[in-house]
C-alpha cells in the first residue's frame, strides 16, 4: 500500500545524539531516500510530550508510528490501545502486548561481548575500562556483556567501570567523560568502551589524547578519531527503523517482539578503513570466533536485565 | 514669596560663593523646591533650617550634582555652572557631607578618602601620595583620624570627620553639611564646630543644614529658612533670635522648654541589680555594661545620659529582652531576668513594657511596608491572633489612621510606604505604636533624632503626658538638652557603668557633662 504515512518520535537525546537516536534517523533517512516518502518527526523535551506527540501523530493521519527508546513504552501502550487501526513500533521494549504493536529488543550484551573480546586482545596491560552515562539497568547490560567478553579472553583482566552522574546532563558531559577515561588510563587501562551518549565523545577524545584506544557505541564512531577508536559496538537501530517502515509500506507488518542479536545482525562490531590498522588478524579471528560461539549457542552471554546481576 | 539678601560684606569684587536663581525641582507630584533664590557669601558659615520635608536635602543635592534641577541657574564663585553629576560639583570646588554617610563600611578610612580620586592606577602609589597630603590637611584643620581603621568600626563622629576630610581632599572650598549633628553627641558637636571654625578661618565657605536653633545661633553668619519647598526668609544671625526663627519655620510660636512639671512617682516597677553584659563575639571579651543598678518608679522619667557608645544602647537592649544579661538581674514584678533565665522581646512585651528603638530605619520600622503595617510591628497579635491569624486590612488601616490622627502624623495616609515619611513623622509612627500599647514601662531610645522642632515639641509633650498617666519611662538620649528638659532623675553612663543617679534639681549641663566625661 502506498498510502502509508510514517512518523517517528525521537527521545530526549535528540535525533542528532551521535548514537542511539541518530541511528534511528539514519534508517529513517534511508527509507525516505529509497521510497520518497516523507516521515513526520518529533523530538520530545519532557515526559508529557511522549504521549502527546504520539497522539498528535495519529491525529495528523500517521499510519505507522515509531517510538524510540524504552521511555516511550508507557505512552505507546496507551496510544496503541486507543488507536487499533494505526500501526505502532517501538525500539528497546519487549514486554508489551498489542495486536498493532511491534517491539524491537536488542541484545546489547552480545555486541558488548564482541567488543570486549576485541578489547582484551588489544590491551597490552590487561586492564580495560568502561564509561557509562547513568547507573541504570540498560547501561549495566552493556557493561556486563563487555566484562564477559573481556574475561573470556583474559580471566584475570581488570575492567574499570565508571558512571558519569545522576542528572540528565550525565549524557552531555564530555569533560567529565574525558576525566573518567583518564582516571582509568592512569590506573593502567588502555582500551575504554563507552555507553554514554555525548559524554562518550570525551571518552574517545581522552583516549586519543593519551594514545590509547576507545570503543564507540550504537553507531559507527570509528571515524571520530581515526586510529584511536578500536571499533564500535553497532546497535542496528537503523535497521529496525528501516524495516518497520518498509514492512508497513509493503503490507508485511507483523506485531510481536523482534529480538535482534548477533544472529540477526542487530548488534555487531564495526570494521572499516578507519580502524583497519588497529584490528590485527588476531583480534579479527578472535572476535569472529566469539561470534560463531554465540551463534552456535556455545557461549550464552549473560543479560544483566534478566536478573539484575552480572556474574562475570 | 522670594527673599534675597544683600551681599553682606557690601563689596562687589568678592563674588558669592554660591548664587541660585529660580531653582525648581519636582518629584512626581511633589514640588520639593520651588523658585529658590539663594546667595551665600564667600567665607561664611550659612545655615539652612526648615521642617522635615521642607526641601533642604533636595536643594543641596542639586548643588552637589546628585539631582538635576528642573529649572534655574546656579553660579559658583560668580561663574555659571551646569552641575550634571557629582563629578561636575567636585570640579567646581563643592564638597558635601551627606546626612546618611556616603562611606563604604568595609573599607578603611584611607580607601574611602581616595575613592574616585586615587591619582594613579596603582593603589599603593595613590595611598602614599594621599598619606602625605592628608597629613598636611589634618595638621591644618586639626582633623586627626587613624587612616588604616575600617569605617564600620568607627563611631559616627569619626565617620563624619572622614567625610569632611574626604571633601577637603578633593579640593572643596565650599562644604555642604546636611544635618551633621543629628547623630552626634554634644562633645562631638563641639569638636565639629571647632573644625568648622578652623575651616572658615582658612577661607572655606560652609553651608550647614540643621534642626537645632542653638547651633544656628552658635556658629552661623547667615541663616535661610525653608518651608514647603520654598525659601521663606533670610536673616543675619545677629539680627534674629531662636524664637523668631522657630516661628518662621513652623508658622506659629514654639515652646521649647517649660513643658516639664513635677512628677508624682509611685511604686517601683522595675529594678536592675548589678546588671552586666559582656561582648559576645569580641576577642577581647570586653565589658559593654557593668554593675548597673537602679529602681524605676511608676510615673517618673529616668533619663540616661552619656556620650554615645558608653553602653546606653546595650542597656536599653538588655531591658528590652533583645540581649540576655551576662550577670546581675532585672526584676519586673515577680519575674527575675538573669543570665540563666533570659527573657525575649515577646516576653517583655507581655510584661507591659514598650520599646521605642534607637534606630527607626533598621529596627523601628520596616521601610518597605506601608505605614499601616509598620504601625503594628510587634503587635500584630492585636489585629491577628495566632501565627496564622487573619490580618484584616480594614482594621489595620483604621487602627493606623486613628493613631495618625492622635499623633499628628503627616501625611495621614496609612497606605503610604514607611520610607516615604520624613524622619519626624517616622518617629511619630513608632511612638504612636508603642505608646498606644498603654505600657506600664516605656523604653525610649533617641526620641527625637533628626526631627524638626515642631515635632520635637509634640513628642516631648506626649512623653510627659504618658508619665503623668503613671507610666514609668526610661529615656536614653545623647541630646543633653533633651535629657535635662524631660527627666525627673538622670543616670549618667560612662564606659558601661553608671556614674551615679542625679536628681533633676541638682542637675545642670556642666555637672552632667563632667560625669559623662568620666569625671566624678
Amino acid at each position: 500500500a502506498n498510502d502509508i504515512k510514517p512518523a517517528v518520535i525521537f527521545d530526549m537525546g535528540g535525533k542528532f545524539d551521535k548514537s542511539f537516536n541518530e541511528g534511528v534517523w539514519e534508517g529513517v533517512k534511508k527509507f525516505t531516500e529509497e521510497t520518497g516518502i516523507e516521515v513526520m518527526e518529533f523530538e520530545v523535551t519532557n515526559e508529557t510530550q511522549r504521549e502527546q506527540a504520539m497522539r498528535r501523530m495519529v491525529e495528523r493521519g500517521a499510519t505507522i508510528v515509531l517510538g524510540v527508546g524504552f521511555a516511550q513504552a508507557d505512552a505507546i501502550s496507551k496510544v496503541s490501545a486507543e488507536n487499533p487501526d494505526t500501526l505502532f513500533s517501538i525500539i528497546d521494549v519487549g514486554w508489551l502486548d498489542a495486536p498493532n504493536l511491534r517491539q524491537y529488543v536488542f541484545k546489547e550484551h552480545e555486541g558488548s561481548y564482541l567488543v570486549g573480546v576485541a578489547a582484551a586482545h588489544a590491551s597490552q596491560t590487561n586492564k580495560v575500562g568502561f564509561v557509562g552515562g547513568m547507573d541504570i539497568p540498560l547501561i549495566r547490560k552493556f557493561a556486563c556483556g563487555y566484562v564477559g567478553g573481556v574475561k573470556s579472553v583474559t580471566a584475570s583482566a581488570d575492567v574499570f567501570q565508571n558512571m558519569t552522574g545522576p542528572t540528565p546532563s550525565a549524557w552531555n558531559d564530555p569533560a567529565k567523560g574525558a576525566e573518567l577515561t583518564r582516571s582509568q588510563i592512569d590506573r593502567g587501562a588502555d582500551v575504554v568502551y563507552h555507553a554514554a551518549g555525548g559524554t562518550g565523545l570525551g571518552v574517545i577524545q581522552a583516549a586519543a589524547d593519551s594514545g590509547k584506544l576507545a570503543i564507540g557505541v550504537d553507531s559507527n564512531q570509528n571515524g571520530l578519531a581515526p586510529g584511536s577508536v578500536l571499533t564500535s559496538m553497532l546497535k542496528r537501530v537503523d535497521v529496525a527503523a528501516y524495516e518497520t517502515f518498509m514492512d508497513a509500506k509493503n503490507g508485511n507488518f507483523s506485531s510481536g517482539v523482534t529480538v535482534l542479536g548477533v544472529a540477526e545482525g542487530g548488534v555487531d562490531w564495526a570494521l572499516d578503513d578507519n580502524n583497519a590498522s588497529l584490528v590485527t588478524d588476531k583480534i579479527k579471528s578472535a572476535v569472529e570466533a566469539a561470534r560463531s560461539d554465540i551463534l552456535s549457542g556455545k557461549v550464552v552471554v549473560h543479560n544483566y536485565e534478566s536478573d539484575s546481576s552480572c556474574p562475570y | 514669596m522670594t527673599v534675597t539678601h544683600k551681599q553682606a560684606k557690601g563689596s562687589d569684587t568678592v563674588p558669592f560663593a554660591i548664587s541660585l536663581r529660580g531653582v525648581e525641582k519636582t518629584f512626581g507630584a511633589v514640588c520639593a523646591n520651588h523658585n529658590i533664590d539663594l546667595d551665600i557669601c564667600t567665607g561664611d558659615i550659612h545655615g539652612i533650617i526648615g521642617e522635615n520635608g521642607a526641601g533642604k536635602s533636595t536643594l543641596v543635592s542639586i548643588l552637589y550634582g546628585f539631582y538635576r534641577a528642573d529649572a534655574g541657574t546656579i553660579r559658583v564663585f560668580g561663574k555659571e555652572r551646569t552641575l550634571r553629576s557629582t563629578a561636575d560639583a567636585i570640579a567646581a570646588g563643592i564638597g558635601m557631607v551627606h546626612q546618611h554617610f556616603m562611606l563604604v563600611p568595609t573599607f578603611t578610612v584611607l580607601e574611602n578618602i581616595i575613592l574616585g580620586h586615587e591619582g594613579t592606577e596603582s593603589l599603593a602609589k595613590g595611598f602614599e601620595a594621599a598619606r602625605v597630603e592628608l597629613a598636611q590637611l589634618a595638621a591644618r584643620y586639626g582633623l586627626d583620624v587613624d587612616l588604616d581603621a575600617v569605617i564600620e568600626d568607627f563611631p559616627v563622629g569619626l565617620q563624619q570627620r572622614v567625610e569632611i576630610l574626604k571633601a577637603l581632599y578633593r579640593g572643596a572650598n565650599i562644604l555642604i553639611l546636611d544635618e551633621p549633628t543629628g547623630v552626634l553627641t554634644p562633645q562631638e558637636t563641639d569638636q565639629l564646630f571647632d573644625i568648622l571654625r578652623a575651616l572658615k578661618e582658612q577661607g572655606v565657605t560652609i553651608l550647614l543644614i540643621t534642626h537645632k536653633l542653638r547651633e544656628i545661633m552658635a556658629i552661623t553668619d547667615h541663616v535661610s529658612v525653608m518651608r514647603g519647598g520654598e525659601m521663606v526668609a533670610h536673616k543675619r544671625r545677629s539680627d534674629t533670635t531662636p524664637e523668631e526663627l522657630a516661628e518662621i519655620m513652623v508658622g506659629r510660636p514654639v515652646r521649647t522648654d517649660g513643658i516639664w512639671h513635677p512628677p508624682s512617682p509611685a511604686q517601683v516597677v522595675l529594678r536592675a541589680d548589678n546588671l552586666g553584659l559582656n561582648a559576645e563575639i569580641s576577642a577581647d571579651s570586653s565589658v559593654l555594661v557593668s554593675e548597673i543598678s537602679f529602681a524605676l518608679k511608676a510615673g517618673e522619667i529616668l533619663g540616661v545620659a552619656g556620650v554615645s557608645g558608653n553602653g546606653q544602647s546595650e542597656l536599653l537592649e538588655l531591658l528590652a529582652g533583645i540581649r540576655a544579661p551576662s550577670s546581675g538581674s532585672i526584676q519586673i514584678g515577680e519575674r527575675h531576668i538573669t543570665a540563666e533565665m533570659p527573657s525575649s522581646p515577646s516576653e517583655i512585651k507581655s510584661l507591659s513594657i514598650a520599646h521605642v528603638p534607637e534606630d527607626r530605619h533598621l529596627t523601628g520600622l520596616i521601610l518597605s511596608f506601608s505605614a499601616a503595617e509598620s504601625m503594628v510591628l510587634g503587635y500584630e497579635e492585636k489585629i491577628a491572633g495566632g501565627m496564622a491569624g487573619w490580618l484584616d486590612r480594614e482594621q489595620l488601616g483604621e487602627h493606623c489612621a486613628s493613631l495618625m490622627r492622635d499623633f499628628d502624623v503627616r501625611p495621614p495616609d496609612p497606605s503610604l510606604k514607611s520610607s516615604l515619611f520624613s524622619g519626624g513623622n517616622q518617629q511619630k509612627i513608632v511612638l504612636a505604636r508603642e505608646m498606644s500599647a498603654a505600657p506600664s514601662i516605656l523604653l525610649v531610645g533617641q526620641a527625637t533624632r533628626g526631627v524638626d522642632i515642631g515635632a520635637i515639641e509634640f513628642i516631648h509633650k506626649q512623653l510627659i503626658a504618658m508619665r503623668d498617666k503613671g507610666c514609668a519611662i526610661i529615656l536614653v538620649s545623647v541630646e543633653l538638652d533633651e535629657i535635662l528638659t524631660l527627666s525627673d532623675r538622670i543616670m549618667v553612663m560612662n564606659n558601661g557603668s553608671s556614674m551615679g543617679i542625679v536628681e533633676r534639681k541638682e542637675a545642670d549641663a556642666r555637672s552632667i557633662g563632667l560625669l559623662m566625661a568620666g569625671v566624678r
Binding site: 535528540g14 542528532f16 551521535k18 547507573d135 574499570f160 567501570q161 565508571n162 558512571m163 552522574g165 545522576p166 542528572t167 546532563s169 550525565a170 552531555n172 558531559d173 564530555p174 569533560a175 567529565k176 574525558a178 576525566e179 573518567l180 583518564r182 582516571s183 592512569d186 590506573r187 555525548g198 565523545l201 570525551g202 574517545i204 577524545q205 586519543a208 589524547d209 | 518629584f27 546628585f66 539631582y67 553629576s85 557629582t86 563629578a87 561636575d88 560639583a89 567636585i90 570640579a91 551627606h98 556616603m102 562611606l103 563604604v104 563600611p105 568595609t106 573599607f107 575613592l115 574616585g116 586615587e118 591619582g119 594613579t120 592606577e121 596603582s122 593603589l123 599603593a124 578633593r170 520610607s419
Partner: protein
C-alpha cells in the same frame, strides 16, 4: 603498594587541576561581576556559548587561537546584553541570567546545526586545532635528584607539567583578579560599587560604567572557560556540554566568600572531590570495600553541604548585590 597509592594520589591532583580550570575561570568572572553588585547566573550560558564559538571557529579556521578570541568576543557580547538589561534598564539580574542561559542552549545547537549539520555538534577537533598540553623542561633533572627526586619528580611531571596554556591562564587569572581587586584603583572602585554605589556616585565616578566594565571582564573570563572546555581539555562542542559547571562555579564563589584565593581553593576542592569520586568508583577500598556508584557520585555534593555547615562561616555577599542602582529612593 605505597608508591602506587602515592602515584594515584598525585594523578588525582593532576585531574583536580584539569577539572577545576573551567570552574576557576567562571568563579573569577563571578567575583568581578558580583563584587560590582551584579548577580551573574549566566556564567553557565556564556560558557556554553563560548565553548561553541571556540570549537566552531577552530574547526572552520584550524586555529585554536582564533577560537579562543571568538569565544571571548561572543561571551563579552552576552555580558553586555546582561549589562544592558540589569544596569541600563534596571532589570532583574536573575531573570536576565536565566534568559541568557536558555538562549545559549537554543542558540548553540541551532547555529551549530546550520553550520556543520552534525546535530548541533561541531566536528571533532584534531590536535593542531586545540591547545595541547605543554611539557615543561627539566623533568629528568628533577626525577634524578637524590632522595626527594622520585616523589618530587612525579609531582612535577604529572601535576605541574603537562597542562595546556589555558590551565596556566586560569591560575594567572586568580593572581590577576587578586591584584586588580585589591591593588589597583580600578579594583577599589569596583569593590566600592558593589558595597555602596552611592559612595562611588558621590565621588564623581559613574556607577553604571564601573559595572559595565566589571561584566565585560566577567565575559572575557567566561570566554576562556568555554574555550577550555571545547578546544583545550575537550576536542569539540557537544550540546549542553557545560553540564552545570557554571552553577558549581557560582557555589564555589559564594563558598570562598567572593575572595580570589579562598574561591580558588573552593574550586580546587570541587575539582578534587570530582576527581577522587571518579577514581573511587568501583575501587576496592581497605575496610569499607567497594563503595556504591551512587554514593560516590553524590559525594561531592554531600561533602560540600557538610563543609558549608561545619567549617565555613557565614558568607557575606557584597552589600549592594542584586539591587539596581537608582538615585531615587
Amino acid at each position: 603498594m605505597m608508591a602506587e597509592l602515592w602515584l594515584q594520589f598525585v594523578l588525582a591532583l593532576d585531574a583536580t587541576i584539569r577539572m577545576s580550570t573551567p570552574l576557576i575561570f567562571c568563579a573569577m568572572a563571578g567575583i568581578f561581576s558580583e563584587r560590582s553588585g551584579i548577580i551573574d547566573i549566566s556564567l553557565e550560558g556564556k560558557m556554553l556559548l563560548s565553548a561553541f564559538a571556540a570549537a566552531s571557529l577552530a574547526a572552520l579556521t584550524g586555529s585554536a587561537m582564533i577560537g579562543l578570541v571568538g569565544a571571548i568576543i561572543i561571551s563579552v557580547l552576552f555580558s553586555l546584553l546582561h549589562g544592558f538589561a540589569c544596569i541600563t534598564h534596571k532589570g532583574n539580574q536573575v531573570v536576565s541570567g536565566l534568559a541568557i542561559n536558555i538562549l545559549a542552549s537554543g542558540l548553540t545547537v541551532t547555529i551549530g546545526f546550520a553550520i556543520f549539520s552534525q546535530g548541533g555538534q561541531t566536528p571533532f577537533l584534531g590536535r593542531e586545532q586545540r591547545f595541547m598540553p605543554l611539557e615543561l623542561p627539566f623533568i629528568e633533572v628533577i626525577e634524578s635528584l637524590p632522595i626527594i627526586g622520585p616523589s618530587l619528580g612525579v609531582i612535577y611531571s604529572e601535576v605541574i607539567s603537562g597542562h595546556n596554556i589555558l590551565v596556566w591562564l586560569a591560575f594567572l587569572a586568580v593572581i590577576v583578579t587578586g591584584y586588580v581587586l585589591f591593588r589597583t584603583t580600578f579594583g577599589l572602585r569596583l569593590r566600592a560599587v558593589g558595597e555602596k554605589p552611592e559612595a562611588v556616585d558621590t565621588a564623581g565616578v559613574s556607577v553604571s560604567w564601573m559595572r559595565y566594565k566589571a561584566v565585560i571582564i566577567a565575559g572575557i573570563l567566561c570566554g576562556m572557560a568555554g574555550a577550555y572546555l571545547s578546544v583545550a581539555h575537550g576536542g569539540g562542542f557537544v550540546r549542553e556540554m557545560t553540564a552545570g559547571k557554571g552553577y558549581i562555579a557560582l557555589a564555589a564563589m559564594i563558598f570562598g566568600n567572593w575572595r580570589p584565593v579562598p574561591v580558588l581553593l573552593a574550586c580546587l576542592m570541587f575539582g578534587f572531590l570530582e576527581a577522587i569520586a571518579a577514581r573511587l568508583q568501583g575501587v576496592d577500598l581497605p575496610v569499607i570495600g567497594q563503595v556504591s556508584t551512587d554514593l560516590i557520585l553524590v559525594l561531592p555534593y554531600v561533602l560540600t553541604v557538610i563543609l558549608l555547615a561545619g567549617f565555613v562561616g557565614k558568607a557575606v555577599p557584597p552589600r549592594a548585590i542584586g539591587v539596581p542602582y537608582a538615585k531615587e529612593r
